[in-house]
Amino acid sequence: MLRYIGKRILLFIPTILIISFVIFFVIQLPPGDYVTSYVASLSAQGEVFTEADIAYLRQSFGLDDPWYVQYFNWMKGIITEGNFGYSFNYGRGVWSVIMDRLGLTMGVSFVILLFQYAVSLPVGIYCANHQYSAGDYIWSFIGFIGTATPNFLLAILVMFWVYKATGQMYLGLFSTEMMQNGMSWQYVPEFLGRCLIPLFVIGTSGTCSIIRTVRAQMLDEQARQYTLTARAKGCSEATITYKYALRSALNPVVSGLAGSLNTIFSGSTVSAIVMNLQIQGPVLLAALKSQDMYLAGTIVMIQAVLVVTGMLLSDIALAWLDPRIRFSERG
């Protein structure tokens, strides 16, 4: 097992290097560069630029080198100094920009993840145990609606309804007052209230697939011989469900966790933009749009690292959860 993990970790390095190269290549692929979009955005606000101004900007941003030289310098900085480069948009180090929003992003995403599992596991189990009951249909219906409705649309609708009902526009996780005075205990209730819409909107989108997976798996397991045997031996239904069937049924759910690590880091993007959430997703999108390439490159690279790490972790978790995998590995 240790050797296997070691091997996987060693494979990381070339994978990440190749990914970083591809990322950088793709980000610089569209015509123009950061200076183009920078000049475009400022001239839209009325500032006038001459050709000389633009050349000067390009030189001062270090964008007059060919892209592979920029890539090489960037990688060199990361490997030798742990320096992920400079965000043009923010005018400071990429790492500090990412750190700004990391805590909140992870917090929000983690709570959403918990919400998804806390809702969908029991519902999945219930639906399996009460197949074709009214409850099964109602939950499946809600789950499908959640999945089928695009998040951003749901976000707009929910915000609109809440505005109509309360007269308050709940945009973002913090009210202006909170941002003015800093967070303190008195704002906790309002903050939690403001979390409800994102939680509901982003949370419901993921629940359906988990509910359906758990339900199908549980139904499979309940038809298995060992379940039958357990039942014949007089085990209680609770023991059969939670000790036997559920453990087997969890396999695909746990594999699904691999992708969650990355989600926790970046948060959802489109919904976050619609709801003005102060998390990582919109930063990445803005960086990609303006070709703020070191920032975009770093975020995407971290995501890649997390996906790869998530895969490894879920493999390990699976091995721990399922003796069959453990034994086949040993054998």
Partner: protein, 689 residues
């Protein structure tokens, strides 16, 4: 069971659809035929101000400011200050903070009421920079809404006989926002150290160059006087200064050490010395504003040019960026500009301005979110699209006043069509430069119908011509080539040498296809506009294609001379005055203007060359009347040639202001020259709850 499920699903979908598509019926005001754009605020908007309507038969023209707007000077006998400052108890008396009594600037426009102190102006921002800068920007001089110029930071100025020496008088006793004296030394030092050495990335601006392109000499006479001397006569320094540079100073006491390090880096003998000086500059900048920059170039550009974006930098503006953590970064989710206790303007009763204690900015992802926050009172001010008026009428929970200002573009910018007159393709070049072709493209569209559809009835038909109130306006021009006549358009096209092909579209005479490839910026509604225009072009036999791109791609393509024809150009043609800002109107005056593209004096011919020559003549003409005459000739050339086509009259700029904000001027012109909403003088606004 399956049937039940299907029923439930169907029911749910019907319910959801019903909820989405529920028509809003609350007596929304529909725009009148004439296109008057004045609107009454929402029903619950008690006590709102409605600007006077300008609803002539042609309707919706920008408000024309009355000619005599210059207020009578008033005598102010004593001064008072905001309780906010008194309560802080650290600033001493207001008299000590203001300039000497006779040099205090009194804001007494006729529309201003004496306000009350306190409160905060809530704004949103999807971007920092000018969004926060323009409203509070103070220039050496300033424009009034009628285009005249008046003293601002400069108390007065004199020009010598041959217009080579400008003497500028400052306000005695005026102070920076940190309390240090503001003197001529700051103005002279700024020019000599920062501009001449190009430390702020903008170098010597056009306003400081004489006819030969040589930089002016700026010298200090005494603490409150400096001179600007040109090698050849310079006739427009005052106006050009206000357009090109605006501020003419930097706080020497804050930046002197930094500038020395930067010059050290600039003049370093080798890389090691440069890196060392660079590091010192970066460290010094960080000690001033707390931000760590990548190199000294960035330091100069950000701190000397975009100075209002950084905390801890003294300014003479009404508001300065907060220095408190969590409120001091324009890239943050929240930041605020707090009142400058040393601001040098007072109201007619001697109350030191500004009235409102601070301007707060909450970061948003796009302007629509700003509109949402306006509706529930979380935002106080925003300019909105004309069709957002109905959203406000339908959904606002707080009283919101709508003010309609004039715009500076020629006709509606969104419906301008620019042909690249410098296009490389010979066929297209000949065609675009043929006025008959442009006329054909102009008259083949039923403007009445088109304008009504694209603007939901808010705007009427128009042409790319100066709007009422702008220099060069004439009714004749604004209706030039606006009749709808497909048969004539076809005759004109045939007169251009085009031949009707078998596919119902015109071809070039050599049989090759003529296709007009129209581009536009993505996400600005041009795709919809094109969809409406295409049937008209098809009917006239003009084959068109359309593709939209990201703005940065458009700019790259424009610079590379690849754009053939652009709808809603990135830089629309038109401005308040061809004298003040000719960029969009004279070939070669700027980059990224599609209609003249890469054209220069060397490549221009005919009337275009004439236009460039007139501009050069304008630059060396002293007499105001002569200058105006030249400008009129330039505009006449534009009228004669109609180099760009417009289909709809200019949309006014719509300000949506929470009605608790008072002293917002009902009339004005929204133009970059006037610093957009800067003309609204936000330091005079006050809050009446």
């Amino acid at each position: 069971m399956k049937k039940t499920l299907a029923l439930i699903l169907a029911l749910a979908m019907v319910l959801a659809l019903a909820a989405c598509g529920k028509p809003v019926d609350n007596g929304t005001k529909t725009p009148a035929d004439g296109g008057t754009t004045t609107t009454t605020p929402s029903d619950n908007g008690g006590g709102t101000t409605t600007p006077p309507a300008d609803s002539g038969a042609d309707g919706g023209e920008p408000a024309t400011p009355p000619a005599d707007t210059t207020p009578e000077p008033v005598e102010v006998s004593s001064f008072s200050e905001a309780p906010f400052i008194t309560n802080l108890g650290t600033y001493g008396s207001v008299e000590d903070r203001l300039p000497v009594k006779d040099d205090v600037m009194v804001e007494n426009d006729s529309y201003l009421e004496i306000g009350t102190y306190g409160g905060e102006l809530k704004r949103t921002a999807s971007t920092g920079n000018w969004n926060a800068g323009k409203p509070i920007e103070e220039g050496l001089f300033r424009f009034r809404a009628d285009g005249t110029i008046e003293p601002n930071v400069a108390k007065s100025w004199e020009i010598n006989e041959d217009s080579t020496v400008y003497t500028v008088h400052l306000r005695e006793g005026m102070k920076w926002s940190d309390g240090e004296p503001f003197t001529a030394e700051d103005c002279v030092w700024f020019y000599n150290q920062i501009c001449l050495n190009n430390l702020d990335s903008k170098g010597v601006r056009a306003c400081h160059k004489d006819a030969n392109g040589d930089p002016a000499v700026v010298e200090k006479v005494d603490d409150y006087t400096f001179t600007v001397t040109f090698g050849t006569p310079k006739y427009d320094f005052v106006e050009a200064c206000e357009v090109d540079i605006k501020w003419h100073w930097a706080p020497k006491h804050t930046f002197e050490t930094l500038v020395n390090y930067m010059l050290e880096a600039k003049n370093a003998a080798d890389d090691a010395a440069r890196a060392e000086a660079d590091a010192k500059a970066i460290a010094e900048a960080k000690s001033i504003c707390g931000v760590e920059f990548a190199d000294s170039n960035a330091v100069g550009k950000e701190l000397f040019y975009y100075f209002w974006n950084y905390p801890g930098i003294p300014t003479v503006n009404s508001y300065v960026l907060s220095t408190e953590a969590g409120k001091n970064s324009i890239n943050g989710d929240y930041y605020e500009y707090v009142r400058n206790p040393y601001f040098w303007k007072v109201d007619a009763a001697g109350n030191q301005l500004p009235y409102i204690d601070k301007i707060t900015y909450t970061a948003i992802q796009n302007v629509d979110q700003g509109l949402m926050l306006l509706l529930d009172g979380s935002e106080d001010y925003q300019t909105i699209a004309i069709d957002a008026i109905s959203t406000i009428q339908e959904s606002a929970n707080v009283p919101i006043s709508i003010y309609e200002w004039g715009s500076d573009t020629w006709g509606s910018a969104a419906h301008q069509l620019h042909f690249n007159l410098a296009i490389g393709d010979e066929h297209l070049n000949a065609l675009f430069n043929n006025p008959d072709f442009r006329q054909a493209v102009s008259i083949c569209v039923d403007r009445e119908q088109f304008a009504a559809i694209v603007s939901d009835g808010w705007l009427g038909p128009g042409q790319a011509a100066p709007q009422k109130g702008a220099m060069g306006y004439s009714e004749e021009w604004s209706q030039q080539w606006t009749e709808y006549d497909v048969a004539k358009a076809k005759t004109l096209l045939e007169g251009c040498g085009l031949v009707m092909g078998s596919d119902g579209y015109y071809d070039f005479s050599d049989g090759t296809d003529f296709v007009l490839n129209i581009v536009a910026m993505a996400d600005n509604g041009s795709a919809d506009t094109y969809a409406l225009l295409k049937p008209y072009y098809d009917a006239a036999g003009i084959k068109t294609t359309f593709r939209d791109y990201d703005r940065s791609n458009i700019d790259t393509m424009t610079t590379a001379n690849e754009v053939q024809c652009m709808l809603y150009p990135a830089t629309p043609i038109g401005d308040i005055s061809i004298i003040l800002k000719p960029n969009s109107m004279v070939p070669g005056a700027a980059t990224n203007v599609v209609w003249y593209g890469t054209m220069t004096k060397d490549t221009a011919t005919g009337d275009l060359l004439e236009l460039i020559k007139l501009k050069e003549q304008l630059d060396v003409t002293a007499d105001t009347e002569e200058r105006n005459a030249i400008a009129e000739q330039m505009l006449a050339l534009h009228q004669k040639n109609q180099w760009t086509i417009g289909y709809v009259e200019a949309a006014p700029t719509i300000h949506a202001v929470n009605s608790r904000i008072k002293n917002f001027p009902a009339e004005g012109v929204f133009s970059d020259i006037y610093r957009d909403m800067g003309l609204a003088h936000c330091w005079c606004w006050y809050i009446a709850e």
